[in-house]
């Protein structure tokens, strides 16, 4: 989101803060007393129970817990937490509504800037964003559990089935095409529909939701939540066409001829990076995308009720240390692996995954093997993986990303036994759309190039989310979708 848009929201929060009830509420309890309350822990399933099932790990707050946690928030005059949130959720405003027990109003408040709070409350890297900027951190105390509260409020609204379906006052009579139904596409579609455009989402897979459906597992983000959000979009009049690969089923130019006047490409970064080492095409070696898609989208974890197969290894090694790696390794444990391991070439400190996921993985009995880099997959006579040849690493000078660069230590080759290996090294955008769209410029690693208003090299064609960033977060993708909606509205209004 642009600096000026964020400033605008902060100004609004400051006005809301001056409302009488808010001032009264602040006065009702001393800051010192608020600071003395311990951060309220969310209820979680026991590690030994949850690492065998796919039901959600976190069970959420009760109303009482939410209100107690809300009391901790100091309703700061210049709320630094908001600055840390990529879409500037009106954090103190919604939290104070929670303290008052006005949960539905709190939900509405969040939705002024974030259309998928039930998702973000669960998957945002809060420690780097909102919570990482909470004033409590400076006071040496655990920050307000903003993510937990956001999740509580959104779940409450869903259970009450109270989400407001905003119908536009008047239709603009213009068609906009959204490519991809991940968080970027969903957010753009929602905002454009509210403005009165005729919005159609084109989705390649048979079910909408992007990574939220095929990537992030049920135990972290129940699919029911994503489906609920998508149903609400449909109620707003957004049309979703699945089984439609833009570039194959029809190109952007062909859709333009069918009357679409503007486009938003939110096609994500779907292509897996592989290691390119010998043995990578052995049976039992997966990309994390395939492993997670089989389990989540195709329900292989319910085999044979569902017929999609998956290799259930005894010793599973996941290569990588991001959220995807954590999801894959915890999934393998749930599929019955005796040993589920993370192989990472750096150390725990450099791991890019959310802290909560690392903690949950550790509790669930995942083994972490650091400073280790695979150099070859070793197979048996039937073409099945039996081990991974690795080399030990040490950390050298920091690289461009600021993390210390791992360097192989000669003579430390060794074999780690494994019958399933999952490569989780990140993803890059699919070249299909640039390849089939005349004049669409991309960057070195395949990301679509955009200007400040998210417009691509082709007028009227906008892009955001992972397809433009090359692998980021749900909230950044969503923020892009919203910014693009504003830019598309401007483009279409100015166009004659």
């Amino acid at each position: 989101m642009s600096k000026e848009n964020i400033q605008k929201i902060i100004d609004e929060i400051n006005i809301e803060r001056k409302e009488e009830w808010r001032a009264d509420l602040r006065r009702s309890m001393k800051a010192k007393a608020r600071g003395e309350i311990d951060r309220v822990h969310m209820i979680e399933r026991e590690p030994d129970v949850r690492n065998k099932i796919f039901e959600e790990v976190n069970l959420g707050y009760t109303e009482e817990m939410a209100i107690l946690e809300a009391k901790r928030c100091l309703d700061c005059p210049s709320p630094t937490c908001v600055m840390g949130c990529p879409v500037a959720v009106k954090i103190p405003s919604f939290i104070k509504l929670v303290e008052e027990g006005k949960f539905l109003d709190a939900a509405k408040k969040i939705k002024e800037t974030n259309s998928l709070p039930a998702v973000c409350g669960r998957v945002c890297p809060q420690e780097e964003q909102c919570e990482g900027n909470c004033i409590y951190i400076k006071m040496g105390k655990p920050p307000i559990a903003i993510g937990h509260l956001e999740r509580f409020v959104a779940d409450y609204e869903r259970k009450m089935n109270a989400a407001e379906i905003v119908k536009p006052k008047e239709k603009k009579g213009k068609k906009v095409a959204i490519i991809g139904s991940g968080p970027a596409g969903l957010a753009a579609a929602g905002d454009l529909a509210k403005m009165g455009y005729d919005v159609t989402i084109f989705e390649a897979l048979h079910e909408p939701g992007g990574v939220l459906i095929y990537g992030i597992p049920e135990f972290r983000l129940p699919k029911e939540i994503v489906r609920h959000e998508i149903e609400n979009l449909k109620k707003m009049g957004v049309e979703i066409i699945t089984d439609f690969v833009v570039g194959r089923t029809a190109t952007i130019d062909e859709l333009r001829e069918e009357g679409y006047e503007a486009f938003f490409i939110g096609a994500g970064a779907g292509l897996p990076w592989m290691l390119n080492i010998p043995g990578e095409n052995l049976n039992g070696v997966y990309s994390a995308n395939e492993y997670l898609t089989r389990v989540n989208l195709m329900k292989a974890y319910k085999f044979p009720e569902y017929e999609t197969p998956i290799a259930r290894g005894k010793r599973v090694a996941v290569i990588g240390a991001g959220n995807t790696a954590m999801d894959a390794v915890r999934t393998s444990k749930r599929l019955g692996a005796e040993h589920s391991m993370i192989l990472y070439r750096r150390t725990r400190k450099e791991m890019p995954a959310r802290i909560e996921e690392i903690k949950h993985a550790e509790e669930e009995g995942i083994e972490f093997i650091y400073l280790t880099q695979p150099i070859e997959f070793v197979g048996d006579e039937n073409g099945w993986l039996k081990g991974i040849k690795c080399i030990k690493m040490e950390l050298g000078e920091p690289d461009d990303s600021g993390r210390r660069r791992p360097i192989p230590i000669e003579g430390t080759e060794h074999i780690i036994e494994a019958d399933v290996a999952i490569v989780a090294l990140g993803t890059k955008p699919n070249p299909l759309i640039p390849d089939t769209t005349e004049g669409l410029k991309i960057k070195r690693r395949g990301e679509i190039e955009v200007d400040d208003s998210l417009q691509t090299s082709i007028p009227g064609v906008f892009a955001g989310g992972d397809v433009m960033r090359g692998g980021a977060t749900v909230i950044l993708a969503m923020g892009d979708g919203r910014d693009a909606a504003i830019a598309i509205d401007k483009y279409l209004s100015e166009k004659k």
Partner: protein, 279 residues
Amino acid sequence: MYKIIEKNTIAENEYSMKVIAPRIAKKRRAGQFIILIPSQGDERIPLTIVDSSPDEGWIEIIFQVIGATTFKLSLKNVGDEIYSLVGPLGRPTHIENWGTVVSVGGGVGIAPLLPITAAMKKAGNRIITILGARTKELLILEDRMAKYSDRVIIMTDDGSYGEKGLVTDAIKKLINEGEKLDMVLAVGPAIMMKFVSLLTKEYNIPTLVSLNTIMVDGTGMCGSCRVTVGKETKFVCVDGPEFDGHLVDWDNMLKRQTVYREQEKIAYEKVLSQYGKKN
């Protein structure tokens, strides 16, 4: 949802279907395929687009029942709908006038071979077709292949029709007869494509094969379909499905096809028993 408007049994356990999918009918080119899900909750499976009518908006698929999903698909009848169907996927065949093209098809592989042969014929090639089957009853599409062929040779394992022997025997015979073969297309079981490729390599005849690896999304996202071609990893769904037969690592391809054999058997038996049948 995609409506079935025609269904025929073309051999034991082999069916052809025409399905309404207007956009795909308009766009598709020889060599491309679709991925479908018979009913919600079923698996995604790839099938070649055998024919289409852009005007009437249908595509034709031909499939053999070999497991749970193809069995479920075979239960659908005219008027029923297919839950999900996406395409056209894969790269279209590179079509040019080579001179004499030998189209070699084995088993249900004759279905994917048909549209490619038709396109090659249209480009001005002389076509010699070699079709192989285990036995007479399993031979499919002979008439339709003949329409695009200058010469048709039939091979059966048991000699019940045409000549007794393998398709590679027929290719050898052509070469011995002094035919100048400019290009070989081979589509069928991986083992057949492997031996055709080994043979044509000896004689330096360019050979195109169409690989039927296991797929999930069909858009390059998962890597389930990957094979080793000329020492490089390729994704069949986006880099293929056709490759230079001389460069494919056949042993890797053959092994990858067996990765889920046990689970496929369990799934098939489960589905069969649900419908009161036995394998």
